[in-house]
């Protein structure tokens, strides 16, 4: 068995342990610099993950763990996100209080879970990696022990996360009972006969419930706004990017890669899920006054747009949908990280996360104002930002599948409606930054160098991915190309109609 495939995960886990131990020797006054050291170490890991030393493609642990282009894409993605979150956390440190190194260590452990999720090719590993992510987030979300909102966020996430995990593990049991295996390859090979089994389908549906919780799709989105609002900003950022992307990579691997025929049977379910998620996120975001809560609803809406890719793939069986999802996620990462970098930097200077607190930001810190504006414009999907291209591709994917399926035209109308609504609430933030209200305090907001670098990198990333998306497109194409397995391509999707 090829243990070298999990080198990256092992190194990351080791790094988390090192951070925990290092805490004993680092004096509290310089503990913030621990974050910078950790960031440097994550940079090395990232270099390792995308460099030539990285594990070659292959599978280990009886096919439980695979390394392919899709896994590599997401590993790079998660490492980048983790790096940014660590930098954010060191800026946010004064508000976290005691136990800063534990925060760093837990972030790294969540990252390990995500790295495993990127490679999970078995329902067992899927469950374990997701639980590793979820359990660390129970702690990360409630890390500001003295803030009631943070505790509330942690408890809500714990209860709802526990319930969804229970659903998922029950679903896995049912699937195992029918298929006699939890391996995706075996499921893929048997999907034709399993498609007729109601117990198997119920089991799969329960697994979808667990994944839907991760990505905050309707009807499992209830936790998102409260948790986003209450959690410390860096934890929210990691939840919005890492945890969501982990859910999506597993959705893609299970439903697009392994079980395309079942996915094709569930077309209408995915259409309804995507439409409801977009509508719920967009409509509920309108009255929000808290920036982090707004981001929570926006993250629900974005989960809906991402599901458009799954819808497209459930109708056509082509790779266009998942490619668009990966491109969208790539741009979304830089966008959300830029937004939360600003929120983290502001937390030390502005009480609360009210949108009103942004007033005068244009004068107080042109850098933060420009960074947040760029992120918001990208979220709204307006060129020349990264968010534009992904949205166009997702809509194009659905339109390509639409002829003959009126429900898809309705879905596109919903998506367009959602984007127009989103402009209303996103641009409310821009208004607050530049001309909303009178701010009593017009003092300059100092921004630490790491945050400047992070924000600059995110803004450059947003613009580069918006204007020159070819590189990302190539990576996404490659990642999705390896997904089609012989069994799936041999049995075309039209059989499901």
């Amino acid at each position: 068995m090829n243990y070298s495939l999990i080198t990256l995960e092992l190194l990351a886990a080791l790094l988390g342990l090192v951070v925990l131990v290092a805490d004993l020797w680092v004096s509290p006054t310089v503990r913030r610099s621990l974050g910078l050291g950790l960031a440097a170490a994550l940079c090395c890991l990232l270099a390792f993950a995308i460099g030539s030393l990285a594990p070659q493609s292959g599978s280990a642990f009886s096919g439980m763990f695979v390394v392919d282009d899709l896994a590599r894409y997401f590993k790079g993605f998660f490492l980048l996100a983790g790096l940014a979150v660590v930098l954010m956390a060191s800026e946010f440190a004064p508000r976290l209080g005691a136990g800063l190194s534990e925060f760093f260590a837990l972030t790294v452990f969540a990252l390990v879970g995500m790295l495993f999720a990127a490679s999970a090719n078995d329902l067992g590993l899927l469950f374990v990696s997701l639980e590793l992510v979820t359990v660390t987030f129970y702690v990360l979300n409630s890390f500001q022990r003295t803030r009631l909102a943070s505790l509330e966020a942690g408890v809500k996430y714990l209860i709802l996360g526990g319930v969804s995990s229970a659903f998922m593990v029950f679903g896995i049991a049912l699937v195992f009972g029918m298929a006699n295996s939890t391996n995706f390859n075996v499921l893929a090979a048997k999907q034709k006969e399993l498609a007729g089994s109601a117990v198997f389908l119920v089991g799969l549906l329960l697994i979808l419930v667990g994944l839907g919780f991760k990505i905050a799709a309707v009807p499992l989105q209830m936790w998102a706004p409260d948790v986003y609002q209450g959690s410390p900003a860096p934890a929210t950022a990691f939840l919005a990017i890492g945890s969501k992307a982990a859910g999506f990579v597993l959705l893609i691997r299970l439903f697009v890669g392994a079980l395309p025929q079942i996915t094709a049977m569930w077309q209408h379910l995915f259409v309804a899920m995507a439409a409801a998620t977009i509508l719920y996120g967009s409509l509920c975001a309108i009255p929000q006054r808290n920036l982090k809560r707004l981001m929570g609803y926006s993250s629900i809406a974005n989960a809906g747009y991402l599901l458009l890719g799954l819808v497209a793939s459930s109708y056509t069986g082509t790779s266009a949908g998942p490619t668009a999802m990966l491109i969208y996620l790539g741009g979304y990462a830089f966008t959300v990280l830029a937004a939360f970098a600003v929120i983290s930097a502001l937390a030390n200077h502005v009480e609360g996360d009210d949108i009103g607190g942004l007033s005068g930001l244009g004068q107080r810190s042109p850098l933060l104002a420009a960074g947040l504006t760029t992120a918001i414009v990208s979220l709204a999907g307006i060129p020349p930002m990264a968010g534009f291209f992904g949205k166009v591709l997702l809509i194009q994917g659905v339109l390509a599948a639409a002829p003959g399926h009126p429900e898809l035209y309705a879905l596109i109308a919903v998506a367009v409606f959602g984007v127009v609504l989103s402009l209303y609430y996103y641009f409310g933030v821009i208004r607050a930054i530049y001309w909303g209200g009178q701010s009593a305090n017009l003092s300059t907001i100092p921004v630490a160098l790491p945050t400047r670098i992070l924000l600059g990198a995110c803004v450059v990333g947003i613009l580069v991915l918006g204007v020159f998306p070819q590189g990302l497109v190539k990576l996404a194409d490659q990642a999705v190309a390896g997904l089609a397995r012989p069994a799936a391509t041999a049995a075309p999707v039209k059989a499901a109609h």
């Binding site: 790779s319 244009g362 208004r431």
Partner: protein, 525 residues
């Protein structure tokens, strides 16, 4: 092909200027203004150079350049720019209006740097939209102006309503643009081509025409989506409100230039690529255009605020443009493009004039003004010339455009032409003349005793715009010889598919429904 013969420099100059502006410290206002003026002057100069080097009388693209941009699966997108008769005039006026917009912005005092950066982004967005031959690239550039518009109205706008106006203009423009985008993508999917390049699509669709059923539902998405950007009745209510609240330069760029991008896209994409859709849907557009001509002109007549007057009458002129497109004749389409160029100059001039008036009087309420001609002889003359051009006085480019449209549309849509000529020209003229009387003539008001005429340098933007209007008014051939070959291409597909459609089949439908918008107008005085 040398670098001079490409459109790229004219696109890049404003972008580079914006980047340079970002490097200048925000408190050096003089430097910021100087950089912006030099950058926009260079853009205008490059645009003039391109216009003069353009070979008139030739069909096909000139100054073409193409670089692959993104390839996703089978879809190839490219940075493909080029000029023909449809856009060369618009590129020219974008340069001129951009320069004028920078020049009139001397009264901006707050956040000067941000203002000029956003203005430069608007100029590059408009240039890019007109130059693009790839539909995604077109959309990309067209949307570049959206965020600057929003921020400019909010930060430097006027009036209590500006918050609402900023949101309204943004939401309308986004709704229109997204609808059109869905239409464009649907067109790409239905065509089965491997690119969203207009030239590729044109060639592909000539060989494999779109099924009529597809054209019939894609065409309205594209046309009505873009028509929202232009302000076609009844999707027009954002325009006067937005322009009244916008700072002068933004209103000039938007009413003058960006609005034309929607018309340009209809002419470039919808009409030539979907001839069947065009013959089904354009009669409705023609009737709605009469809504613009009657309703907006009538509303303009009742305005007391000069910006609202200009905004509404500018919408009324858009009715002519839609009428020209709906005529589907070479003459009508040529006239539409001519009018687009002329109206870009006129709208920019009008908003520049009203903006200057506001800096002097502190108000735009025309009922409170009077006798200003004596105090401001140069300004007054410019205002008379501008508003006379708005009435359609021969000698200005607008007359040439409107007259050409009426000639072109006469055969296809006789009744609508009668209504248009009567309403657009007569009601419009009454509105303009009443405004001139209220502002310039009559007794002088004591509260405006300190109003001053434009200084020497401040005249430059007005002179530039007026000169271009008179030049194209006296010698419209400069434009029409360039436009006509391209206009032939636009209507060629339509001619080929349904030779007898426009005159026979369309007249009854508009005739029946055109009476209702006509009635309120007849009850006038």
């Amino acid at each position: 092909m040398t670098a001079m013969d490409s459109l790229t420099p004219v696109l890049l100059t404003p972008v580079v200027t914006a980047l340079l502006l970002l490097l200048v410290p925000g408190n050096l206002r003089v430097v910021l203004r100087a950089v912006a003026i030099v950058g926009s002057a260079l853009t205008a100069w490059t645009a003039i150079g391109l216009f003069s080097r353009f070979h008139p009388g030739e069909a096909g693209l000139q100054f073409e350049s193409m670089v692959p941009w993104v390839t996703v699966g089978p879809m190839k997108l490219a940075y493909h720019v080029g000029a023909d008769g449809l856009n060369i005039g618009l590129i020219l006026v974008t340069g001129l209006v951009g320069l004028a917009a920078v020049l009139v912005s001397w009264n901006i005092e707050r956040h000067v740097k941000l203002f000029y950066v956003l203005l430069m982004l608007m100029i590059s967005g408009a240039m890019g939209a007109f130059a693009s031959l790839d539909l995604v690239l077109f959309y990309f550039f067209n949307e570049l102006a959206l965020v600057p518009t929003f921020i400019m109205i909010g930060v430097w706008g006027r009036g209590e309503d500006r918050n609402w106006a900023a949101f309204k203009i943004t939401l309308y423009l986004t709704l229109g643009a997204l609808t059109a985008l869905v239409g464009l993508v649907a067109l790409y999917v239905a065509a089965g081509a491997d690119s969203l390049d207009v030239t590729v699509l044109q060639r592909h669709l000539a060989a494999h025409p779109l099924p009529v059923a597809a054209q019939v539902w894609i065409f309205p998405l594209v046309v009505f989506g873009f028509a929202v950007l232009v302000g076609l009745f009844p999707f027009h209510s954002w325009a006067p409100l937005g322009y009244a609240a916008a700072p002068t330069a933004t209103a000039m760029m938007h009413a003058g230039i960006l609005k034309k991008a929607g018309l340009y896209a209809i002419l470039r994409v919808a009409v030539p690529l979907m001839p069947e859709g065009a013959s089904r849907w354009l009669p409705l557009v023609a009737v709605l255009a009469i809504g613009n001509l009657l309703h907006c002109a009538w509303v303009a007549l009742r305005q007391k605020d000069m910006n609202l007057l200009i905004g509404n009458s500018s919408l009324a002129h858009m009715g002519f443009a839609f009428l020209g497109i709906a005529s589907l004749t070479v003459i009508g389409v040529t006239g539409t493009v001519l009018l687009m160029v002329a109206h870009a100059l006129l709208a920019a001039l009008s908003f520049a004039l009203s903006g200057y008036l506001e800096t002097q009087t502190g108000t735009l309420d025309m009922t409170r003004m009077g006798g200003l001609l004596r105090r401001m002889p140069f300004y007054g003359t410019a205002l008379v010339m501008g508003f006379m051009a708005g009435c359609g006085l021969p000698g200005f480019a607008n007359f040439a455009g409107e007259a050409t449209i009426l000639f072109g549309a006469w055969k296809a849509l006789p009744l609508l032409v009668v209504i248009a000529a009567w309403s657009g020209l007569v009601i419009g003229a009454v509105a303009m003349l009443r405004a001139l009387r209220a502002v310039l003539q009559g007794p002088e008001r004591p509260e405006f005793a300190r109003v001053a005429d434009t200084g020497y340098w401040r005249r430059l933007p007005f002179v530039v715009l007026l000169a271009a209007m008179v030049l194209f008014g006296v010698a419209p051939g400069l434009l029409t010889t360039r436009i006509e070959p391209a206009a032939r291409v636009v209507v060629a597909a339509h001619r080929a598919s349904s030779p007898a459609a426009p005159a026979g089949s369309e007249a009854p439908a508009p005739a029946a429904s055109a009476h209702s918008p006509g009635t309120p107008a007849q009850s006038r005085h």
